[in-house]
């Protein structure tokens, strides 16, 4: 691929400007957004290449987008290479790392892993259609399998560990403007309550996405399924992140 016929060459001058601005220049954020959004099709294309390997599509797209953000941040236009030659391996590396880190924390039979994948797909499709999280019987009907199997598959899902993905995603804020609105409301709801612990600094120290999810759930009154749609990851992932974040906060509150 050359920089002449990629369809992204109009973005090239922006990199020069981006690299020339000091860290605290407000124009930087705007350029960064523009560069990330402009190259998003590249990330999505790479994510699609990994679709049949058992990870939910939205999670793959998230990881690829994080790879893209990293590439935008680290790219040095003066080095003489074009952005795509730098970005494609960076994004692919990020997705591969996701797969490597996504280890089943205990031995789970192949059949259950496959089931986990089908359940994941069914959950996201049914959530769309129903406007809420599906019930086990609804998932079973959708997959034309026994409820017992779904229950087994859901149980296996809790053996699935995604902690490293969370670290990877920690600095990538991909929330759109509707999330920002909901977040504003959640924030003011938080302001109205006074707790015996000083919660604010703890919340502030959370990675942006964990903080967003936590605020939307506990102060914005959104369901996990609604949050999943807002943030663009699966409901199961939201569920895992929320539980982990609560555990982290609890630990910090008691250690003080």
């Amino acid at each position: 691929m050359t920089s002449q016929d990629t369809g992204y060459e109009h973005l090239t001058p922006l990199f020069k400007e981006f690299a020339s601005l000091p860290e605290d220049d407000p124009r930087r954020q705007q350029l960064r957004d523009e560069l990330v959004t402009g190259h998003l099709p590249v990330a999505l294309h790479i994510a699609r290449r990994f679709i049949h390997r058992g990870e939910p599509q939205e999670d793959l797209e998230q990881v690829a987008t994080v790879g893209l953000i990293n590439a935008v941040d680290r790219f040095e236009p003066d080095r003489g290479t074009d952005f795509l030659s730098y970005a494609v391996p960076t994004i692919t590396g990020e997705v591969r790392r996701h797969f490597r880190d996504q280890a089943w924390s205990m031995r789970v039979p192949r059949r259950l892993k496959d089931l986990h994948v089908s359940i994941g797909a069914a959950v996201s499709e049914l959530s769309q259609r129903l406007g809420r999280a599906p019930r086990p019987t609804e998932i079973a009907a959708h997959l034309q399998c026994a409820v017992e199997e779904v229950l087994e598959g859901l149980e296996a899902a809790t053996a699935y560990r995604s902690a490293s993905l969370d670290e990877v995603l920690a600095d990538g804020d991909t929330s759109g403007h509707t999330t920002a609105d909901a977040l504003g409301e959640a924030d003011s709801a938080l302001d109205q309550v006074e707790y015996r612990e000083s919660v604010r600094p703890l919340l502030a120290s959370l990675p942006e996405r964990e903080r967003t999810i936590l605020l939307l759930r506990f102060f914005g009154n959104l369901t996990q399924t609604q949050i999943a749609q807002e943030v663009g990851i699966s409901q199961m992932h939201v569920s895992r992140l929320l539980a982990q974040t609560l555990a982290t906060l609890r630990e910090q509150m008691t250690s003080d």
Binding site: V123, R132, A133, P134, R135, P136, T137, V147, L151, L154, E155, T158, V193, E194, Y195, R196, E197, V199, R217, F218, N221, L222, T223, Q224, T225, Q226, Q235, M236, S239, L242, A243, L246, A247, L249, R250, M253, T254
Partner: protein, 145 residues
């Protein structure tokens, strides 16, 4: 509302499941797994299953932090067709109220349809020692977010 008992559970066609663990953070995962399994088997939607699992986690963590060293935490699940009620209890060194102006309590009230704390200065069931309990309820059909 009264404390769940085997008889009452039968009368209302509800099932009683009780889990007892050493009141220690390391044992809580057992209760969490039971909670999630019961909710999924009652065909709660996945958000509710996960909410109950987190709520039970929070309740147990709160109670474990208050419990007398070396005692047990009992957690009873009263499982009905349309709701699950949970009553978790520990004995405590001296009479105490469960603080409700905490972030943890906010978490509990968001995750459940109902939550109460109950303190006994002298609990007959706990050999006359003081105890604290948290009761929570989750309905199968939920109206809020």
């Amino acid at each position: 509302m009264v404390a769940p008992s085997g008889q009452q559970a039968e009368a209302e066609n509800r099932t009683l499941v009780e889990v007892r663990i050493a009141a220690s953070a390391a044992q809580i995962s057992a209760v969490r797994v039971v909670a999630a399994d019961l909710a999924a088997r009652q065909d709660f939607d996945l958000d509710a299953v996960s909410d109950l699992r987190m709520a039970v986690d929070e309740v147990c963590a709160t109670l474990v932090s208050l419990a007398t060293n070396g005692t047990m935490l009992s957690c009873q699940f009263l499982v009905g067709v349309n709701s699950i009620e949970v009553l978790a209890k520990v004995t405590v060194p001296r009479p105490i109220q469960v603080p409700q102006n905490t972030f943890g309590w906010r978490v509990l009230s968001t995750l459940t349809d109902e939550v109460h704390a109950i303190s006994h200065d002298r609990d007959e069931d706990a050999g006359g020692r003081p105890s604290v309990a948290i009761r929570l309820g989750l309905r199968r059909e939920r109206t809020h977010g």
